[in-house]
Symmetry: C2
Subunit: 316 residues, 2 copies
């Protein structure tokens, strides 16, 4: 399949009138695209505009692309008309497998074959969604993080019948459209970000269940502890930088035995040489030529800005 | 024991010349205290000053307290002289149990009994540390988060022989000194923040071990996904706000079954009515009278500021 160059896409079709479909609509409008939004029913229109109103406040604060305008939005309840001139389709229909399978069967026929169709699904694999689609090669998961008009992450993964070209095209397009694409090689439940968040969330539930912490203490611990650091550098690099010259190698070689301690209810994997090296090399690649003192200074500047920003945004 | 009113403390003694002891020293100086820092050996002095140099850049950017000055620092290698006029002692000696036990045996005798001694320990319980101390009632854990001069969290928990009065006094004092105290009722491995972070970290290690994600993908997923939201509102409230009118109740009632899905290797606890209610009530308490639309707007303002702040702090 010869796809259009991602830079040539000027019109995006967003399917779905909920917070995710509305969030995507606002995002693409803010990045200067013409957007056609398909709603299942006209009665959804008012709430849909409310979602975009809310999103627009933040998108303006972050800065709109040249030519971006809410006037470039068309709303329709006619699916064929909605996809007619699309350069890209973002589907955010309800998370019900038979509904999505039927939708992709239809989209597979009415959307021109050189147009990529991405699903916002957070819990269903594309392998399942594309089961009844007659043109499944150009379908792919493009999973955003809530709120989708603000958080840049889009996790991209194909189903068994998706082509590698489709996955790459989607990554290139999302990047151009101002997102932070993460291409996954395997379909795994929860993708990357939700799995990590879910591990933390389950530990939090255990702590509340055992009377070890309250929800307020859990949130306070995160807000005042690991989260600002994580927002700046993630978790691997947070440990890499904290260990100075030795970086991740020191972290694993010195604190490796602590992985056997009951510091959470989640058991750690065996710290094999392969795992150690993958972590160490990964962190060294991210660091590049930067010395840890530069990285630590960057981390600190980031945390200062984050703490100030959070304070400025608080109403109480 | 009649402790001094925390507002009357003017001099703090910080024990330890490493990044934690140095970080605490910088923090207390920035909050306008006289600080006496005990180093094990004079040879540690230069690096100790380097740590404070680094910290000071950020502390100035965040804003110093009235009268705060690095001139108010005294460095000594004489432990008795170091604790002589202290209104509070923050101990950040190496994480070696026999060493800490001997140190607390000595501090227990030479520090006036009406002065609280807090340990920065991240991995040892105060019950173990205070074993040989003859005045253990006034000892407590005051565990900071790295970097201690920037992140506000201090987790406070007593050992078996610590008095409740001591725990409360420490919480009051840290709050006055510009920290975010979190008082725990139980001594559990990893306290609150590290347990949560460790669950996420172990899931990350599993993902790398299984070739499901690289360190770079893990950090990118966090930075562009859950972390900015977590830095603003933690995790319980992130879910509460995302579920609109229904809040945490909707989250648990609707997505409760998803806790059985393999979205991480950590199994969730049984979602009992008690656990459900504890989560729901906890979130409602934090929300207070604020409608979820106000909370969502606050979240969005926070994320906008955080994304801008991170961008401004990046060197590449």
């Amino acid at each position: 399949m010869r796809y259009q160059n991602p830079t040539k896409v000027s019109q995006v079709t967003s399917i779905g009138g909920g917070p995710i479909g509305g969030g995507w609509t606002a995002h693409f409008l803010a990045r200067g695209y013409d957007v056609v939004s398909y709603l299942h029913d006209e009665s959804e229109t008012r709430i849909f505009h409310d979602i975009i109103d809310t999103a627009w406040t933040s998108l303006e604060a972050l800065g709109l692309a040249d030519g971006a305008s809410r006037d470039r939005l068309t709303i329709t309840t006619d699916l064929e008309a909605a996809v007619h001139n699309a350069g890209f389709i973002q589907e955010s229909a309800p998370e019900i497998l038979p509904l999505k399978q039927d939708l992709y069967e239809k989209l597979g026929d009415i959307v021109p074959e050189e147009v990529v169709i991405a699903s916002s699904t957070s819990g269903i694999t594309m392998t399942d969604i594309q089961a009844k689609c007659r043109t499944p090669e150009r379908t792919v998961v493009g999973h955003p993080f809530n709120p989708p008009y603000l958080l840049p992450l889009v996790e991209i993964v194909g189903g068994k019948k998706s082509s590698t070209e489709t996955v790459q095209w989607a990554a290139d397009f999302y990047e151009l459209a101002g997102k932070a694409p993460l291409v996954m090689n395997k379909e795994i439940p929860g993708f990357v970000a939700t799995r990590l968040q879910e591990a933390l969330w389950r530990e939090a539930l255990h702590m509340v269940a055992n009377g070890e912490a309250t929800p307020e203490q859990i949130d306070s611990a995160l807000i005042n502890g690991p989260a600002p650091r994580m927002a700046m550098f993630g978790q691997c690099m947070a440990f890499h930088i904290a260990c100075g010259e030795g970086g991740m190698a020191t972290n694993l070689d010195q604190f490796g035995p602590a992985l056997k301690l009951p510091w959470t209810r989640l058991e750690a994997p065996e710290l094999t040489k392969e795992l150690r090296d993958a972590m160490v090399n990964g962190c060294n690649d991210i660091a590049g030529t930067r010395h840890f003192t530069e990285l630590a200074a960057e981390r600190d500047r980031g945390i200062v800005e984050i703490l100030k920003g959070v304070k400025a945004a608080r109403t109480k």
